[in-house]
Amino acid sequence: MIKEHVVEDTELERLERVELFLSQMLRTGVLVSAAVILVGAVLLFATEAQTLLHNGMGSIIAYPPDPNAVRVVHTLPAVWAGLLAGDPDAVIDVGLLLLIATPVFRVAVSIPVFLLQRDRRYTLITTFVLVVLLLSFVIGTVE
């Protein structure tokens, strides 16, 4: 009985270490995405300050977006195309998307962790959450 308890505890500790490692990776992910956003913002002001000033705040934050003032893109291919064209807005978008991806990544990694524990219920629950997260990117476009 006592022995069994000890085994359980070490397994729990191992699991905690995995969780902690993942969370620290998340923090790194957040810092990387913040750095990318910062680079994008600096690039934006360095290269397009005149255009921004010319367009004025009104058209930059116009809703729905004014296509001549700001590139509010909403598909991954559009972000990629903007990046290839050296568009600072696209660099910011990459940083924002990295940020949005961190919790998705966190959930995805939990699936093998539950699988290794042979916890079928939680493998299923976690897979469901991941599917919902991935579907969210599709749902907005279908609308």
């Binding site: 995405s33 910062l38 994008g40 705040m57 919790p103 969210s136 990117f137 749902i139 609308e143």
Partner: protein
């Protein structure tokens, strides 16, 4: 206002929002959405899109700290995320269908509710009281233990009313997706009062869940084109910097007095959001 002024002003305000949010246990969203809409004149859809991204930044950034003190319960969090993510998608979808006035109105109600719940906030734990058995909670192992540094003992707890908790989490997720906030103010009572989890566990698990919930609605906002990089960049950077700073100074500050001031601020902002809703409706 020139674009550079807009950027710097939003950045500064977002640092303040992140700092205050960390000190008060609120997300930055509840401060940043009113600031962007009322002060900077940004459309509420962009404000919400920018806010939801900053919510992810704070939650993911702080996840390690919450896990290290063994307070957040991964199983309970993951189980409830089934409802919060589904709710978040519903909320984000709904925000695209309903207009600005209704969004301002709902936001105003939530601000007022947050103010009230801050006044009534309890710190005591009721884990010692036995909770009624609940089949789902038992099957899904919704239980755990943590070491309480103040009481100097290990507190064991288990959840009850899992289905009711799940239902409330759907509502919390909808609010999060609709308003671009973390909605910890709804998540914590669902765990604390309904599922009868200790307050500390409820708070830590709620913080753990917020990022995942926000990611679900952020996907919808991005796909719809509501995430304007020019608005979202200073907000994400500012809130992240402010929250990081806030967690550092948290232990050195007494939060009770800030909280009293903040209750008043929340109520004032609630009234202003209400006025904005009425103005948009032409009333």
């Amino acid at each position: 206002m020139s674009p550079i002024e807009f950027f710097l002003l939003t950045l500064t305000a977002s640092i303040g929002a992140g700092l205050l949010g960390a000190l008060l246990g609120l997300g930055g969203g509840i401060i940043i959405v009113p600031f962007l809409t009322l002060v900077m004149g940004v459309d509420i859809h962009y404000a919400i899109g920018a806010s939801i991204v900053s919510v992810i930044a704070t939650s993911s950034g702080a996840a390690a700290a919450y896990l290290r003190d063994h307070l957040s319960n991964i199983r309970i969090g993951m189980f409830l995320e089934v409802a919060t993510t589904t709710g978040a998608i519903s909320g984000a979808f709904l925000a695209g269908l309903i207009g600005g006035p209704v969004l301002f109105l709902v936001f105003s109600v939530l601000l007022a509710y947050s103010a009230v719940s801050m006044v009534r906030r309890r710190e005591d734990d009721h884990a010692a009281v036995p909770v009624p058995h609940d089949h789902i909670s038992d099957t899904l192992q919704l239980r755990g233990e943590y070491h309480d540094a103040v009481m100097q003992k290990t507190v064991r707890y288990r959840a009850t009313h899992a289905l009711a908790g799940l239902g409330l989490m759907y509502v919390a997720g909808t609010a999060s997706g609709l308003l671009g906030i973390g909605s910890g103010v709804l998540k914590v009572p669902a765990m604390d009062l309904v599922m009868r989890l200790p307050m500390k566990v409820s708070t830590a698990t709620s913080n753990f869940m917020i990022g995942v919930t926000a990611a679900a609605s952020a996907g919808v906002y991005f796909a719809r084109g509501d995430i304007n990089p020019f608005v979202a960049a200073p907000v994400a950077l500012g809130v992240l910097a402010g929250a990081t700073l806030g967690t550092r100074v948290m232990s050195r500050m007494k939060s009770a007095s800030i909280r009293k001031v903040f209750v008043v601020v929340l109520l004032v902002v609630a009234v202003q959001m209400l006025q904005k809703a009425l103005a948009l409706l032409g009333m």
